[in-house]
């Protein structure tokens, strides 16, 4: 993720240790993937109780922007910054492959604003617990508030495994109420050049940086 952000901005992002309380005012906080605490208890559960989370919550309450990817999304959920839950993949398999995402019609946010609604992005996933689950009333609320940002989508009519984890309504990413926090299972930083198999992640992250920093 650091390499990806550096490639886009030309600057090296600050790394923040999870035990830090004092964080400076930042344009964007990215919580990357990475199996914190070995996924013990529940994915992201222990990291979500780390000291730095209080500072991240303060950053959000000041209107700050946060992107959580994969384990970062799980941490945002466990920290109750985003609602719902991420449970075991339906087929019980660790899934590591490319998926196709569709940009949804949602509230204004700095992550997708430069992209078109219905636009498709090819971005890989790599997770064991990415099956987004929301009770019915929450799902209804998310739809009404326009907080479903990204969905896995079929490339062909007869495609069966386009959803890599069995998530409710093919959800791949959701937004906070104010649109300033996005959690997503797919890894945009793993689709940065042709050797990765595609550059849609670069497109996505470049758009985020442009929307946030200008």
């Amino acid at each position: 993720m650091i390499v990806a952000i550096r490639k886009i901005t030309g600057k090296t992002p600050i790394k923040i240790w999870h035990k830090e309380y004092d964080i400076p005012n930042l344009d964007l906080i990215v919580i990357p993937g990475g199996f914190t605490f070995g996924d013990y208890l529940r994915c992201g559960a222990l990291a979500a109780r780390s000291p730095v989370i209080t500072s991240i919550k303060n950053h959000i309450s000041r209107g700050g922007t946060v992107l959580g990817v994969c384990n970062g999304f799980q941490i945002l959920i466990e920290a109750k910054i985003l609602p719902g839950s991420l449970i075991r993949n339906k087929k019980l398999l660790f899934t590591c492959r490319e998926t196709t995402l569709e940009v949804q019609s949602c509230i204004e946010n700095p992550f997708l604003s430069g992209l078109k609604i219905g636009e498709c992005l090819k971005i890989p996933v790599a997770h064991n617990e990415g099956n987004y689950f929301a009770p019915e009333d929450l799902l209804k609320q998310l739809k009404e508030e326009g907080r479903i940002a990204l969905k896995y989508i079929k490339q062909k009519d007869n495609e069966k495994n386009y959803n890599p984890n069995g998530s409710t309504e093919d959800i791949a990413g959701i937004l906070s109420k104010n649109g300033k926090v996005l959690g997503m299972m797919p890894h945009p930083e793993r689709a940065m050049n042709y050797l990765h198999g595609g550059t849609d992640g670069l497109k996505f992250l470049t758009n985020c940086v442009e929307q946030i920093i200008g």
Binding site: G84, R88, L92, G166
Partner: protein
């Protein structure tokens, strides 16, 4: 005092691990097994004497960390020697 916390998935939440176990049990000839749900057991050792206080503390631990109340239920029992 030892406390046992049993964490289980709420009804309606998909349990793919339980489903896989059920299917294996059926294959072994346990055809009457119509559903399997999995969970987790956490055993705590709390240095306190009062049972009410122990239960109160364990409940707080469940709500703050041990349980994801969106998808899980829990049950607290004191382990008697």
């Amino acid at each position: 005092m030892k406390v046992i916390v049993n964490v289980s998935l709420k009804e309606g939440v998909l349990d793919p691990e339980g489903q896989a176990i059920k299917s294996s049990l059926n294959n072994l000839g346990f055809e009457h097994c119509s559903d399997v749900r999995t969970g987790k057991q956490i055993i705590l050792n709390l240095d306190q004497k009062s049972e009410t206080e122990v239960i109160k503390q364990a409940k707080k631990m469940c709500e703050e960390l041990l349980v994801n109340t969106v998808i899980q239920n829990y049950e607290i029992n004191i382990l008697k020697d």
